[in-house]
């Protein structure tokens, strides 16, 4: 039988199967962070249970950590308690943690791949919906709730039912100046935020194969924004080259064997999917969201949509509510919208390639006068180091950006980096939900290059119109 990549990953992890199709699925890697793990550890303690396999877990605090003046510690006592609790739990149960002062600390979805803790063929879970990111490696990775975090800690397994499969094929050469972020926003715009509900999405096609691992992670990261718990990309040389030599990757004694098995991690030609969506990369333009859901997205050369043109009443009301929240008039050209804050970072766009793309636009320019704050937050300590070696920090600082320490930061504003009510932000993160970046804050999702372009011009602009200096 011809199998999809999803079928292969699923089948190789089934421990047992019930008559109704419910499976016990083995989990190779669990990533932990401070927000969704305390109650799981507490549950374990209350039941007198121990972690099943300590070495399968890796922990890092990321959501609450400060991105400035870290040496002073966390000022908010509630945040501090949560980070301290992760420390204590990891110590008590013997789980490896990259603490706040560790140079390897960073956003959980950035450090997993960076360390080689994310490997092709694995099943990977984390109490975080953007676990989908790791699917870029041909791994079955999805977000779980805290009860399931506890379940995996205690049993190394999850109770799961197989989902349907969708293939999103992006063919053709992506126009220069466009990025993986534009691809995935366009996909979400096409299928909607619930379009992938109940599916695992495999991203394929020449435009996906042409992406770097960083770009592939950006695409899979936002599979959840299309409703899919997991996104997948087939393993190829790009994948294998990225993994090689990383601290947790297989060493010389197993390398050849691992590579041979990873090379099988692609859908068989002619394998059937429950749904197929095709997108032509050549037609794409830079994407900007205008509303409060990632599906509310248009291109930089469009206008804010008019609810009066929407026939579905629930959708129309949703659009009106979004416009009101966003403080936007229908039919305003997107390029007339002026953000006051720019945020470059997050597990979607906080990797080295993203830093480079933003720096290329910032180089030799200044942040516009109407921009109150432009933040660059690298996804991990190692990304930060690498960027500094390349001199990117100097470019940002010279242009008037703030160069911060790694963490989730203004992606969800659990630390001190947050929007004030009414503030408008060009953000490279993944969610433009109401209040996501701070109560009353208004988020426009864009690529790093587009965010940097908005920072230096003071309004949204097609980054291709800016010469690279």
């Amino acid at each position: 039988m011809k199998q999809t990549l999803y079928d292969k990953l699923w089948d190789s992890h089934v421990v047992s199967q019930n008559d109704d199709g419910t499976c016990l699925l083995y989990i190779d890697r669990q990533l932990l962070h401070e927000v969704t793990s305390p109650q799981a550890f507490e549950g374990l303690r209350l039941a007198g249970r121990k972690p099943w396999r300590i070495d399968a877990n890796l922990a890092v605090p990321d959501h609450n950590v400060p991105t400035a003046n870290r040496a002073a510690g966390i000022s908010d006592p509630v945040s501090r308690l949560q980070v301290d609790t992760l420390d204590q739990n990891c110590r008590e149960f013997g789980i490896t943690q990259f603490g706040m002062d560790d140079p390897r600390q960073g956003i959980v979805h950035v450090i997993g791949p960076e360390q080689g803790a994310t490997l092709p063929g694995m099943t990977i879970v984390c109490g975080d919906s953007h676990t989908a990111t790791h699917g870029a490696f041909g791994a079955l990775a999805h977000g779980i709730g805290t009860s399931e975090v506890e379940h995996v800690l205690a049993t190394q397994c999850l109770i799961q039912k197989k989902s349907k499969s969708m293939l999103v094929e992006v063919e053709g050469e992506l126009p220069a100046g466009l990025t993986a972020k534009d691809i995935v926003l366009a996909i979400i715009g096409r299928i909607g935020t619930a379009g992938g509900t109940g599916y695992t999405i495999e991203f394929g096609g020449s435009a996906i194969r042409a992406l770097s691992m960083e770009g592939r992670m950006t695409v899979c990261n936002m599979a959840i924004e299309a409703g899919a718990r997991a996104g997948l990309i087939a393993v190829d040389d790009t994948t294998i080259d990225y993994v090689k030599g990383r601290p947790y990757a297989p060493g010389a004694e197993h390398w050849e064997q691992a590579v041979a098995s990873w090379k099988q991690l692609k859908s068989d030609p002619g394998a059937e999917f429950n749904r197929v969506v095709r997108i032509d990369a050549r037609d794409l333009q830079p994407q900007v969201t205008w509303g409060t859901s990632p599906e509310m997205v248009v291109t930089i050369n469009d206008k804010v949509p008019n609810p009066e043109n929407e026939t579905d009443p629930t959708k129309r009301e949703g659009m009106k509510a979004a416009l009101k929240y966003m403080g936007l008039e229908a039919d305003t050209p997107i390029r007339d919208i002026q953000p006051e804050i720019v945020f470059i970072g997050s597990c979607t766009n906080g990797r080295i390639e993203d830093m480079r793309a933003a720096a290329a636009v910032a180089r030799g320019r200044k942040v516009a006068a109407n921009i109150k704050q432009a933040l660059v937050v690298p996804g991990s300590g190692l990304v930060k180091q690498q960027a500094e070696q390349e001199g990117l920090d100097k470019i940002f600082i010279a242009a008037g950006f703030e160069w911060r320490d790694p963490g989730c930061s203004m992606c969800l504003a659990m630390n001190n980096d947050r929007l004030k009510p009414g503030e408008r932000c060009a953000s490279t993160s993944n969610r433009n939900f109401e209040g996501r970046q701070g109560q009353g804050g208004r988020t426009h999702l864009v690529s790093p290059a587009m965010a940097a372009a908005a920072a230096v011009t003071g309004h949204f602009i097609d980054v291709r119109e800016l010469e690279v200096l």
Binding site: N18, P38, H151, T314, G435
Partner: protein
């Protein structure tokens, strides 16, 4: 986990699609290391006019009069009517914890986001998917009739009301079994210890690089 068998409770309508878990429980409350006490902060940004912070006493906070769950007629609701894609976004289990703490045991919508849907079952909340026209009819009935109650029978898989409304719903047999009996998933899985160990032995040979410990 509390069992769920049957429930008769007041229904409240939340007429908006794509309600995300950030809206259900805003991030500042995720700093808690407990599972309980989230109820007062459910839908915090919609429910109150001021900005909520963890451990705040909510008794005297200014309420948003326009938010439906603040209306007198919906106080004590146990059944929540919602629209498409309820619970999308973040995987935070704090969302079902907050709903449960607030008193919600049943959520009825035309569709749910996957992770949220799953998290509900782990906490004794029953999420029910009904066709959009039936959900529409329930919205109309609830809005038109103060005190409108629904009876949900999990064993029979039925929803009914005094006005003669009666629908059936689907539920995954395994999840139904766990909910009816209040079963702990971990306990069930640990009955399969031998199978898990056998699987690991096999994989240590096939994919030794995945076992470093």
């Amino acid at each position: 986990m509390d069992k769920f068998t049957t429930l008769t409770g007041l229904a409240a309508p939340l007429d908006r699609a794509n309600i995300d878990t950030d809206a259900i429980i805003p991030k500042q409350f995720l700093k808690s290391i407990k599972r309980t006490g989230f109820g007062p902060y459910l839908f915090d940004e919609w429910r109150y006019l001021d900005h909520g912070e963890p451990e705040m006493d909510c008794t005297n906070r200014p309420r948003n009069p326009d938010f439906v769950l603040n209306q007198q007629r919906y106080q004590g609701a146990q059944v929540l009517l919602a629209r498409d894609n309820f619970g999308c976004g973040s995987s935070r289990e704090h969302a079902p914890w907050a709903l449960l703490d607030f008193g919600i045991r049943v959520i009825i919508a035309p569709s749910f986001a996957d992770i949220f849907f799953n998290n509900c079952f782990k906490n004794g909340i029953l999420p029910i998917i009904l066709p959009a026209d039936q959900v529409d009819a329930l919205f109309t009935a609830v809005s038109a009739t103060p005190g409108y109650e629904l009876t949900v029978d999990l064993e029979q898989q039925t929803i009914s009301a005094a006005d003669g409304t009666s629908y059936t719903f689907d539920v995954d047999p395994f999840r139904k079994h766990c909910l009816l009996n209040g079963l702990d998933d971990i306990g069930l899985t640990l009955e399969k210890v031998e199978q898990i160990k056998a699987y690991e032995e096999l994989k240590k040979k096939e994919t030794p690089w995945l076992f470093r410990g």
